[in-house]
Amino acid sequence: MGGLARFLDSDFLYSFKRSPVALISAIVLAICVGAAVLAPILAPYNPFDLASLSLMDSFHPPAFESEGDASHLIGTDDQGRDMLSAIMYGTRISIFVGLLAIGFALTVGITVGLVAGYMGGAVDAVLMRIADVQLTFPAILIALLVDGILRAALPREFHSKMEIWVLIFAIGIARWPQFARTVRGSTLVERGREYVMAAQVIGLSSRRIMISHILPNVLGPVLVIATLNLGLAILDEATLSFLGVGLAPTEPSLGTLIRIGNNFLFSGEWWITIFPGLTLAAMVLSINLLGDWLRDALNPRLR
């Protein structure tokens, strides 16, 4: 049976098709991701093209309001940017930051977890105490700290160029301990299994055993947690941007858009903050619901 045929016949797909929550979440997420990825093609305007912006267009309400304008479906912001386009591009940035931050956290977390779990002893004790200490602080606080330190340490010019990478690093470093702990736990279990002993008997190196034997077997649970954390990482980015330490208004992410809109919420221009907010909420919620479903679907004991 080929890989595709096996997948189409799997219990996994079966349970997916039978779960309305998973189906709806997947559709919402697909719309968000589709709109974000295809933003340059689908978006009616290019919000980064400063030349096309005109203050004359600012504060247009959404098209369905009485003063609305059909050319800006959900209105414009204070700079005259089309909100729909800004949200599509903003989502693109948010997803990009979230994915890379989680990718970074996964790389660090999996490596640390594998080494700690397989080597044990003092290596394990030291690595896990570091993770424990970091886990006692909220992730967002760590991200703020790291961001602040880098902001102070890097030359101003360099920092503003590297802004998005600093953000990714800060969020990623804040989220690795959870992955490390999970991977270490699974590694401890796998290390005691006889297939690992079989590899040790023929004299394979620890590195090779960790990578080719243990890693494929510990990946499942940590990927589920990564899914749940992706939603949180996107929220982290929004929070940091909302607090003003994230991305600049010239290249707004969803968080930046919410922050800008927040200034006008009480003067009646609600759409500038509400629509990015709704997009963020819908996206994070669907990621979390999908993650929850994935966890249950992959856990044979709950079936």
């Binding site: 006889e194 297939y195 002993m197 079989a198 008997v201 023929i202 004299g203 394979l204 494929p216 077997n217």
Partner: protein, 328 residues
């Protein structure tokens, strides 16, 4: 004298069972160790099977792991083909000649690997063959040898039954062309009819390739079927060691006699036995003297204080004061 493949001399292995350093310091506890294997000596001749039998916690699995170098002895020495084991295992050419078969057919095969890759792993690790075609041919040949089909290599372990998985495990062990196999309870997770298939296969392979087995089991009937020589273990020590037939015909050590008495057997329909009482003490705090004395019907004052040494009578080594004194 025939070639000795594996020889253990005065092998002892301790494990630390203390709590973590920080907790130990806070509560002022001393380090605690567990002596899993205590002053064990044996040797295995080429082409024969030495079995070690005993109840859980007697140290037989620890010896299995010591014998392939997964653990190092705390003291004493193990020699493989005349060389110290650690030196032998440092050379790929010698390491290739020993391999292991495990107890749990559900844990001994990596669930994410195809069977062909599982069986080929030792071939690749030792660089025995290089071309993909040669490796595939060899894997097919190995799978056929253990009673599976060459095409089974494409499948994953979960597609097989327990007995078939154990065959895969045996094919993997054979793929490095070893002379010496350590078999750690290879059939205790299997149903009896499957057990018979696997035991027959192991005997056939032994004859075909002149294999030497160190066979670990808790099942005396299985051990009787498989072994040339037999060691009976209790709390880390070999209490009786000799030719299998002799031990089954005329066991001397009271523990071996207790075991023979305790095993339910098909021939005993409706028979009522008077089982011997007591349980195996914790190896963390073994009794002084002969560790079997709290359960031994022959124990006297000497047994309670003095550890018995092995005395060889008729080629059987027995560690028992009662036997040595002629009280048994």
């Amino acid at each position: 004298m025939a070639d000795i493949v594996l020889q253990a001399e005065g092998v002892t292995r301790d494990f630390e069972v203390s709590r973590p350093l920080l907790q130990r310091m806070l509560s002022g506890e001393a380090r605690r160790t567990l002596r899993a294997v205590d002053d064990v000596s044996f040797s295995i001749e080429k082409g024969t099977t030495l079995s070690l039998v005993g109840e859980s916690g007697c140290g037989k699995s620890t010896i299995a792991r010591l014998a392939v170098g997964l653990y190092r002895p705390s003291s004493g020495e193990i020699r493989f083909e005349g060389q110290p084991l650690s030196a032998a295992r440092a050379q790929a050419a010698l390491r290739r000649r020993m391999n292991m078969i495990f107890q749990d057919p559900y844990a001994s095969l990596n669930p994410r690997w195809r069977v062909r890759d599982i069986v080929a792993e030792p071939i690749r690790a030792f660089g025995l063959l290089s071309s993909a075609k040669d490796i595939a041919d060899r894997v097919g040949q190995l799978l056929t040898q253990v009673g599976l089909a060459a095409a089974d290599g494409e499948k994953y372990p979960h597609e097989f039954s327990g007995g078939q998985r154990q065959r895969i495990s045996i094919a993997r062990a054979l793929s490095s062309e070893p002379d010496f196999l350590v078999c750690d309870e290879p059939t205790s997770a299997l149903d009896v009819s499957v057990q018979a298939q696997i035991l027959n296969l192991m005997r056939d392979l032994q004859q075909q390739f002149g294999l030497t087995y160190l066979f670990i089991s808790h099942n005396l009937a299985v051990v009787r079927h498989m072994s040339d020589r037999l060691g009976v273990m209790y709390l880390g020590r070999i209490v009786e060691l000799g030719a299998g037939e002799t031990l089954f015909r005329a066991a001397r050590h009271p523990y071996m006699r207790l075991l023979l008495e305790a095993i339910p057997d098909l021939a005993m329909v409706g028979r009522t036995r008077t089982p011997v009482g007591g349980e195996v003490p914790s190896p963390i705090a073994p009794p002084p003297g002969c560790t079997f004395h709290p359960r031994c019907p022959l124990a006297n004052e000497r047994c309670r204080v003095e550890k018995p040494l092995h005395a060889v009578v008729d080629g059987v080594a027995v560690a028992c004061h009662a036997v040595a004194e002629g009280r048994a």
